[in-house]
Amino acid sequence: MSSETTTGATGPARPEVERLHVAGLHAPADAVLSVRDLNVRFNSENGVVHAVRGVDLDLMPGKTLGIVGESGSGKSVTSLAIMGLLPSTAEVSGSVRLKGRELLGLSDKAMCEYRGNELAMVFQDPLSSLTPVFTVGTQIIEALTIHHPAMSRKAKEARAVELLAMVGIPSPKDRLRAFPHEFSGGMRQRVMIAIAIANNPRVLIADEPTTALDVTIQAQVLEVLHTAQEETGAAVVMITHDLGVVAGMADDIMVMYAGKPVETGAVDDIYYDPRMPYTMGLLGAVPRVDVAEKSSLVPIEGMPPNLLNTPTGCSFAPRCPLASDACLDGEPALASVDGQGLHSAACIKSDALGGDVDVHDVFAAPPVPVSRFDAVPRAERTTVLQLKDVKKHFPLTRGALIKRRIGTVKAVDGVSFDIREGECFSIVGESGSGKTTTLLEIMEFHQDQDGEVVIGGLSNKQAADAKTKARMRRELQMVFQDPTGALDPRFTVYEVLAEPLQNAGMDRAAIRKRIMELMKLVGLQPDHVNRFPNQFSGGQRQRIGIARALAVNPKLVVLDEPVSALDVSVQAGVINLLDHLRAELGLSYLLVAHDLSVVRHISNRVAVMYLGKIVEIGEVDRVFDNPRHPYTRALLSAIPVPDPRLERTRERIILQGDLPSPLQAPKGCNFATRCPVFAALPPAKQEKCLSLEPPLESVRPSAAAQALQNAPVHPYDQRFACFFPDGALDEDMLVVHEPAENHAP
């Protein structure tokens, strides 16, 4: 770390010394942590990267600050600079004061006194953040030993047990001796939180703490963070790219772009009255899980600037639809929006953006595409894919030489559904629920499979020779999750797109023509065909992946988490493209995604999977607005919504524990072990759940509705597998945060 605490760089508006002086004067007296004019520069091969450019922030005890931004916006670097954990090659300047004491410029050794004691941090990836060779207990106790060397071994152990219990780890005393690999991701993140709060920190920084976790586990971990904050009274910095996660938790928000805060303010100001086009775009780019209304997402075109050169104008100007020449003249400083209060935005047009400006107009969101199939009733459309009772069981064996079968993992256990022309069908569920295995079974298309797969009229049972398989591949193509890993780095885009066409036996001229068509279709410049994948951004690479899938004109495209690796603003563009292609080409999609908001936005029908079985299936709006299966209800309630007021009062079902191992699957209903309804049932009814497997049954309109219509009504397109869909929920699993409790902004 650099030892200099002042900097020669000049701020945009005032001379540096004056700026720091004024900021120092205005720092609230009760702030635990005050950061002023934080700048971080890295030396890279291409020159100096100015990763953080003048961050000011104040943290109040017990309050939560959310830092939001895309990857590369400088959020994580800011937090690491505060912790003093940046590599020694980073050049840090400015001021970080913890209760009045300056932290910048302290040696690594001097910082050790604060780190883990008054300043604590939770990192993104719980799988790699714990040392694999030490027990969980050792690692918690280490945090105590460092700052309290005098504490007795017994006291430390007692405190470790207390901490594990606080973060919700069952039988904490025994778990002390467990190694990290014996814990699931969610449990490990709980341990990380336990380590962070071990010494009652004043400031707790959480850097994307739930990004690597399933939604149900995310809800649990956010709940633990909430408890941790209540127990310690710490100021929390929540760094995330997910505007939903912070909506319910944060008191204040700081939006970062290109290493600078571009808008700061109370959470309600930011969500309901954004004054910076970038914030507006971010909010408009996120699909909502709780809204059925269909409107296109707001794509923010372009890429964030690289920070090798200091921007001469507003750093967002190249991507901003409102940019004018005035925007290019000097970088706008954060200025109070209404001349008073804490809501500030770095935009010269912020005054004009208040009130009822619609983000869809500002960013010119494309109109909602209409497919020619939308008008045709579903029953009259051709089936493009049908699964009949598809099963995939893996034998679980033990023993080195002679393998004994000790059980069966039912990864996919009797899944049936069909996809019609022009519709998007999605499969959702936690990791381990069998979504991906279902996709693999469809791609496998082999005679010996358990169950029938019919793709465009071709059944895997009738013929599984190479010719049929080749024909099947022309009906069905796949787009993968990681666009970088799915493209050969040594192939130009032309070669990537030509390969499937050559396999289809097209001649060179036709291939060339088709590739140009494809590039235009997915919104890429046709003259970029000779570039290599690494010359494109993540979103563009995913477009190449989509173009490759579309090359042979398939009827059905299988999308395996197509946008989960992309930033929100880029994600919106890809989702809009998928929507557009479906309408224009009459495609059908089979989508697997863990983000239910994306699923709701793009799908027509949805299936919810749990432990290899479909527990609820039907029309997406019906399932999401009126979920019947307790698991669907829990999943939906776990998803944070980018709406602070709603988020604060929302009732949340927090499922206990993780997805059980498939070996322990109960005989009756799979979900009984975690079911909030089951927990509240009387024992007599519980018996039914435990012994009988609930069948997937349709929802019939109530007798009253039938009488009202005066005619037999068609059953709704919604089926679910639960005996007691209307049962009361167990109160222990329900969590509501009263707005008055701690979130009055």
């Binding site: 912790m83 954990l85 590599p87 690594d108 050794k109 050790c112 006194e113 604060y114 780190r115 883990g116 004691n117 604590a120 941090m121 990192f123 990836d125 790699s128 953040s129 714990l130 040392t131 694999p132 060779v133 030490f134 027990t135 280490e142 945090a143 460092i146 700052h147 190694f179 690999h181 990380m192 380590i195 962070a196 080195a400």
Partner: protein, 327 residues
């Protein structure tokens, strides 16, 4: 753990049996000691040769399978590994030579490991500084220079010292001086014989460990869990010492299995150059002398050493890595 080790032991026993049997068949069908006998002066008659061979259990008229059965019965029932064409008993000669090899290599293996790992850690902690560059460059040099040349260089160095001082401090060949009185003088003599080969083998050997340990540690220095340890309040060096070091030792521990047998069985250069008649040089001699039983015995010995090394590596890995701990 014991049960696991026993299981591994049995697996290796089967493997040793298979390699040794295969080795015996190869030796018995390609090595013809009778041909060498015939080159003696005065030239013996074929009957005489066959007779002398038959007496030593090396009857060339029997089929390979019959000889294999005889040989195996001898080992299983009497632990008799047969005789050489010159009449020597394999068991007796093997006993002498194993002891010589062990004395030659044991100290240098331990030194190689300790110095290599320690220097690896030292250089990783000072990445790209002068010490790191010097140590790592040396290790690569030791990698490149063929072992015999390095041994000769050390010998020359020792001779140089002897000449400079004017008296013979180091012996550059041999195991001990015959006819020295027991007690202190014998110990000094032993040491004087030991130093040069041990030093030579160690100097050449540690490079591989240094490079591996440095690399694995550097892979872990910026690991997420080291960052977590620092966030708890450990300084960078403390975090590396307590958290990264042990994780980085896991792959090094595994590599031991494959270097120990290589040093033992492949040590014939050292044995030849320093004139220590151990197992390594014996295995080469056995082939040139068409000695079926000796060649097979050295092969069996190599397999046993490999198994021991592998079990040691398993043991070391289990010790440092809880993820592979067996229930």
């Amino acid at each position: 753990m014991l049960k696991y080790l026993a299981k591994r032991g049995i697996t290796y026993l089967v493997m040793i049996f298979l390699t040794t049997s295969a080795g015996y068949f190869l030796a018995v069908s390609s090595l013809k000691p009778a041909l060498l006998e015939q080159e003696r002066i005065p030239r013996p008659t074929p009957e005489q040769v066959a007779n002398s061979m038959r007496l030593k259990g090396l009857d060339p008229d029997l089929s390979p399978w019959e000889r294999y059965v005889d040989w195996l019965t001898g080992i299983v029932t009497r632990w008799d590994w047969g005789r050489s064409p010159n009449g020597a008993y394999i068991n007796a000669e093997f006993g002498d030579r194993v002891w010589i090899s062990t004395r030659l290599f044991l100290a240098s293996i331990i030194l190689t490991l300790v110095i290599g790992v320690a220097l690896g850690v030292y250089s990783a902690a000072r990445q790209y500084k002068f010490q790191d560059r010097a140590i790592t460059s040396y290790s690569y040099l030791a990698y490149i220079v063929p072992a015999p040349i390095a041994y000769f260089l050390v010998q020359l160095g020792a001779i140089n010292i002897n000449e400079t001082v004017g008296s013979r401090i180091f012996f550059v060949t041999g195991i001990s001086t015959p006819g020295i009185s027991p007690g202190w003088p014998q110990f000094v003599d032993l040491l004087a014989h030991y130093v040069v080969p041990t030093l030579a083998i160690t100097l050449v050997g540690w490079g591989a460990y240094q490079i591996a340990q440095r690399q694995y540690l550097l892979d872990n220095v910026n690991a997420d869990f080291v960052r977590t340890a620092r966030a708890k309040g450990l300084s960078r060096n403390q975090a590396i010492a307590r958290h990264a070091l042990r994780v980085s030792f896991i792959p090094v521990a595994q590599s031991i299995a494959f270097t120990i047998p290589a040093i033992f069985a492949g040590g014939f250069f050292a044995e030849k150059i320093f004139a220590w008649p151990g197992v390594g040089s014996w295995s080469i001699d056995a082939i040139s002398l068409q000695d079926v039983n000796a060649a097979t015995a050295t092969l069996a010995y190599g397999s046993v050493i490999f198994a021991i090394g592998a079990i040691l590596a398993d043991f070391a890995t289990t010790l440092v890595d809880p993820r592979v701990r067996v229930q």
